[in-house]
């Protein structure tokens, strides 16, 4: 273990002492040890090369201490909502009473106190994402969150929304972790909403752990929004798929400040299938990083990634995608694509797709492009009567749509299209 040298790391160490006293000391100790080995990642850490978290987090904000009463929260979906507010799971603000049969919910705090083996081992998830210091920090400091268990065979019609908000008037840090376990053959639509309700610069480190038993199916839509220039949000997703399980995911990143979404997915059963798509709408000085590791551990798995970064002003986009095919994972079929559209001279995109293939009978490919709006397309649309900004909007919308097309839930698709339209209408308006 190296000595954590910086002032920031000393502050985090005091957070750790505080949280360890509150429960799950062994789990936290292991995670803290993992974090301590790396410390806050600087640009010298390869997977954090484009997002300088060490500098951004040079002053960790105090841990959130929520004592807020009931408050009205913005609602975008007709969903079964489970709310974590300022680092604390809020049953009183959640749709607990409306949960259908087959869905069991408890707070992370309660789950950690009970210490059920299968829950604890799922929460620890040491097998994937173990190399990431910020995910380890999340496990060491997790304050609260929600644990959802969906019974084998249950098909949950209404979407379950995991909503995490920061509402404090002053800067604060939150460390939240949610776990969703789907039993064999279970099906659910999940919405992950990460937002800010105040203008204070929050530092939110959240993780969602998904365990899909054999033949389980999940459609997941993640929406990262809000933030101010100084806010920092790291949202990690750990997904673990057994045989024939399928996840189809789309993430939209917008807002301000620094956002990093990191995805660690392991296809750990034969014929598992994972789709991770996403779009970023960058404006102002937004820094939006999507970093993804898809680990094919068993044969005949399929993975698809399609990301679209739309970057205006001085915004910065990052896409790092790595597809790993383990020695035994023959017949793996993987395709990864990242495209960026730069709408201003000052916008920046960093694309880094990678393949690490240790099996010989696989089909894997990747592509990354970065460009501006196509002049021929623009002329075509304007020659048909669309004013320049509207023509641009139509092309940008089309560009984003390509990543959304495959979503099955029409309501969620409409919600996302609407977010894109709102973003574009602000652009037309200026």
């Amino acid at each position: 273990m190296i000595k954590l040298a910086s002032e920031a790391e000393a502050t985090l160490s005091s957070f750790y002492e505080e949280m360890r006293a509150k429960g799950a000391p062994r789990l936290r100790a292991a995670a803290w040890a993992a974090f301590s080995e790396f410390g806050l990642p600087s640009r010298r850490v390869e997977s954090w090369h484009y997002t300088d978290l060490k500098t951004a987090m040079s002053r960790p904000a105090p841990l959130a201490t929520s004592s807020r009463g009931a408050m009205p929260l913005p609602r975008a979906h007709d969903s079964l909502r489970l709310v974590t507010l300022d680092g604390v799971f809020r049953a009183d603000l959640s749709d607990i009473a409306r949960l259908p049969e087959g869905v069991a919910v408890q707070s992370l705090r309660d789950a950690l106190a009970q210490g059920e083996l299968h829950v604890m081992s799922a929460l620890a998830s040491a097998d994937i994402g173990a190399q990431d210091p910020i995910l380890a920090l999340n496990a060491a400091l997790m304050q609260d969150g929600v644990v959802v268990q969906i019974a084998p065979g249950a098909k949950i019609a209404r979407a379950i929304e995991l909503a995490t908000f920061s509402s404090a008037e002053a800067a604060q840090s939150t460390y939240t972790r949610a776990l969703v376990m789907l039993g064999e053959g279970a099906q659910a639509t999940l919405i992950e909403t990460l937002g800010a309700l105040s203008a204070a610069p929050a530092q939110d480190n959240g993780a969602l752990v998904l365990r899909l038993a054999a033949s389980a199916r999940v459609e997941l839509v993640t929406h990262l929004s809000g933030g101010v220039d100084q806010s920092i949000r790291v949202a990690s997703l750990l997904a673990h798929l057994d045989a024939d399980a399928r996840i189809h995911s789309f993430a939209l990143i917008e807002g301000e400040g620094l956002h990093r979404r990191q995805i660690f997915v392991r296809l750990d059963g034969e014929k598992a299938s994972a789709v991770f798509n996403g779009a970023t709408l960058g404006r102002g000085r937004l820094h939006a990083d999507t970093t993804l590791i898809v680990d094919h551990a068993k044969p005949s798995g399929q993975s698809r990634e399609c990301f679209r970064n739309i970057l205006d002003d001085q915004s910065v986009g990052v896409f790092q995608g790595k597809v790993i095919v383990r020695p035994g994972a023959q017949k793996t079929d993987g395709a990864m694509q990242s495209k960026a559209l730069l709408l201003s001279e000052q916008a920046t995109m960093n694309n880094k797709p990678e393949l690490e293939i240790f099996a010989d009978d696989v089909q894997c490919g990747h592509g990354a492009t970065c460009g501006r709006l196509d002049k021929d397309q623009l002329f075509y649309l304007t020659a048909r009567g669309l004013p320049r900004r509207e023509a641009e909007a139509l092309l940008i919308e089309g560009f984003a749509n390509e990543a959304m097309e495959a979503l099955e839930d029409e309501q969620l698709k409409a919600f996302l299209s609407d977010r894109v339209s709102v973003w574009l209408s602000r652009r037309i308006g200026r």
């Binding site: 048909r384 009567g385 669309l386 004013p387 509207e390 139509l394 089309g398 749509n401």
Partner: protein
Amino acid sequence: MLEIKDLHVAVGEHEILKGLTLSVKAGEVAAIMGPNGTGKSTLSYIVSGREGYDVTQGDVRLNGENILDLDPAERAARGVFLAFQYPVEIPGVATMTFLKAALNAQRRARGEPELQTPEFMKRVREAAASLGVSQDMLRRPLNAGFSGGEKKRMEILQMALLQPRLAILDETDSGLDIDALRVVADGVNALRSPERAFVVITHYQRLLEYIRPDTVHVMAQGRIMRSGGPELAQELEERGYQDYIAQEAA
């Protein structure tokens, strides 16, 4: 309708149009014929407002108004329509979304009320039926994966929907088989009217058997070299463009 006088156009140092003069009246179908590389497409782009060309001399008037300072959308709202030689594929943009946005943008610019969806759908369906454009094509992203013939039919469908005053058809016959050519020509002929003018740009006389022009203009070396009636097209078909290319050498 369209008055072009002594038009000189350059791209960088290279002059493409060298004093082109052309007049097309309302109700007229004017055919422009000429060899490759003589600036026919440039002419269509200049009238419709594409960027990247320098007009160094001359002017282009539409119903008396100089349109060279207008952007493409403003020209479209005034009734200029270009049927592209190579219609652009736009994946991700639904054809119907595009059609409605274009039509209503033009209507807004002219101060007309926007068309509501039922009326819009009715018009698209009618135009599509007469041009053999399938519902499947309308459901796909704009021109994405369309064959050459499908793209050209989509151009004519847009023309039928937008009802322009001046339609420029740039090599609309290229890449069409004889059946598709007939469908496209019928679409154009159905739109002929005393209030509307057409400029039909083509290499070959073939298209003009289906769309009978009122006037024929031979374009070579960046200018209109000769104008006449439909018989001129026949003469060109027999003799080729040798006479006009030779003049330059002489």
